[in-house]
């Protein structure tokens, strides 16, 4: 029992990190059919910014954790919007493949830039949560895991509320479905795409700041996380935001269970297992577990 719940909470915590990055991928994919390969590096870069805000005195003082957290989210948002305006928007008329290549270029540039500015050596990144545990019915539950899960899922829920209940959120969904028609309703879709990049960057920043404490800060820290997130997104169906979240969480729990109970699966095998799963899903259900073929009548 003890072992099971520990594996479950750790899995949910890891999974929530994959889920938020997977959601970021889906946000951009749904709007533009582009897989943003730079998503992980954007997350890494903003986490370095968080690190700088936290450790280096700016204007004479450093920020404590939560102010730093929210300032970082704001910077990440501006960063995402800026990237879309400067790098992606000029490619509006280009093919999807061209834009994907641009995101790969962005990946390399951001990774190199981070190593150049902050040096490639591992850095310690703080966690806002204590390392102690709660004991509930004899089961130890890590506060760190619960906190990570809570913060990440809270961000996802806020975003969901935005898309579900605001006019701007509705317009973003409409623009993703039929951009030309949205423009005919007076929607400035070009700006909404930038807004989508902003949200994706914020989700990335959350996943970066939540995963950095357990694995140290380095320019390549998000490489594996991005692949897990991608596997989670495909698992849920790239078209489905709920699927991406469920896929990310499910993948986290599954990997955690596997490494707890199946001793053959060492940490080195986590990534291959995730990719194997991705392959199997693509073979059996190409639209993903939550993906559905939209019904259209003519």
């Amino acid at each position: 029992m003890q072992q099971f719940f520990q594996a479950l909470t750790t899995g949910l915590a890891d999974g929530s990190i994959y889920a938020s990055l997977a959601l970021a991928l889906v946000l951009i994919y749904k709007a533009t059919e582009v897989i943003n390969f730079a998503q992980g590096e954007m997350a890494m870069f903003t986490t370095y910014i968080a690190y700088a805000l936290y450790t280096h005195p700016h204007f004479g003082h450093t920020l404590s954790y939560w102010p730093m957290f929210f300032v970082t989210l704001a910077i990440a948002f501006a960063f995402g919007v800026g990237l879309q305006r400067v790098v992606i928007r000029p490619l509006e008329q280009a093919s999807v493949l061209t834009v994907v290549m641009a995101t790969i270029a962005l990946l390399v540039i951001l990774q190199g830039l981070a190593a150049w500015i902050w040096s490639p050596e591992l850095k310690f990144f703080p966690s806002p949560f204590p390392t102690s545990t709660w004991v509930i019915g004899g089961v130890h539950i890590s506060k760190q895991d619960v906190g990570t899960f809570g913060v990440t899922i809270a961000c996802v829920v806020v975003l969901w509320l935005f898309f579900r209940f605001t006019k701007l959120g509705l317009a973003m969904r409409a623009g993703a479905v039929n951009r030309a028609a949205a423009r005919l309703m007076g929607v400035r879709t070009s700006w909404l795409l930038a807004l989508g990049w902003g949200f994706a960057a914020v989700l990335g920043a959350v996943s970066g700041m939540m995963s950095a404490p357990t694995q140290f800060l380095s320019p390549t820290m998000m490489d594996a996380v991005l692949i897990f997130a991608f596997a989670g997104a495909v698992l849920g169906g790239l078209e489905s935001p709920i699927g991406a979240v469920a896929g990310g969480l499910g993948l986290g729990v599954l990997l955690s269970m596997l490494s707890t109970y199946v001793h053959v699966i060492t940490p080195e095998l986590r990534l291959p297992v995730a990719l194997l799963l991705l392959l199997v899903v693509l073979l059996v259900r190409p639209a993903g577990l939550f993906g559905r073929v939209v019904v259209r009548r003519v």
Binding site: L170, A171, R173, V177, A180, L184, G186, V187, V294, V295
Partner: protein, 232 residues
Amino acid sequence: MPPLLELNDVSARYGPVAALHGVSVTVDDGEIVALLGANGAGKTTTLRAVSGMVRRTGDVVFAGRRLRGGPEATARAGIAHVPEGRGIFAELTVWENLRMGAYMRRGRPDLGTVLDYFPWLDARRNQQAGTLSGGEQQMLALARAFVQRPRLLMLDEPSLGLAPLVTRELFRVVADLNEKEGLAVLVVEQNAAIALRAARRAYVLETGNVAVSGTADALKANDSIRSAYLGY
């Protein structure tokens, strides 16, 4: 009184292919005007040129102002364009589609008036728009355009793929909106007979030029025009 919409010598091209060669069309306030002609005559392109969906030369003046900019700007100026293929948001619900029509308006949209004209929408509000029948989708597109509160409605081939009875119902609602709300309408149609019944005036396009124009009654009465251009 100057016309509500005035196209002055408007040309447009898709890449190297010219689609319109200097078309001049006017629509008065509160008037229904039909754009007729065969496939490829430039009817759809004319609407797209007004909306800024295709690059154009020549003036488009709406309500005394020169239109410039893309479809967003045209919509904000007060023109609702129901494009070819209806432009429904298939994955959104019927109600969300209607709320999108009210995107440009401040505050909570009042969707009560639209239900006066399209009462059946109320029972379908939570249905995914893509699952509506073709006729219902066309009606939804019309309803959504009406929610935009435009001064001019542009309809692109509303009868395409619809049963005759559904087409008749659609044009009845268009006539209703025109009469009761004073909505001006510019409608593109291949089905000349039904369009001329609804319209006061019509233009017949041929290979990107206006070949004939006049009142609907005059066009209907002229047998040679009917057989040469309208095919009925």
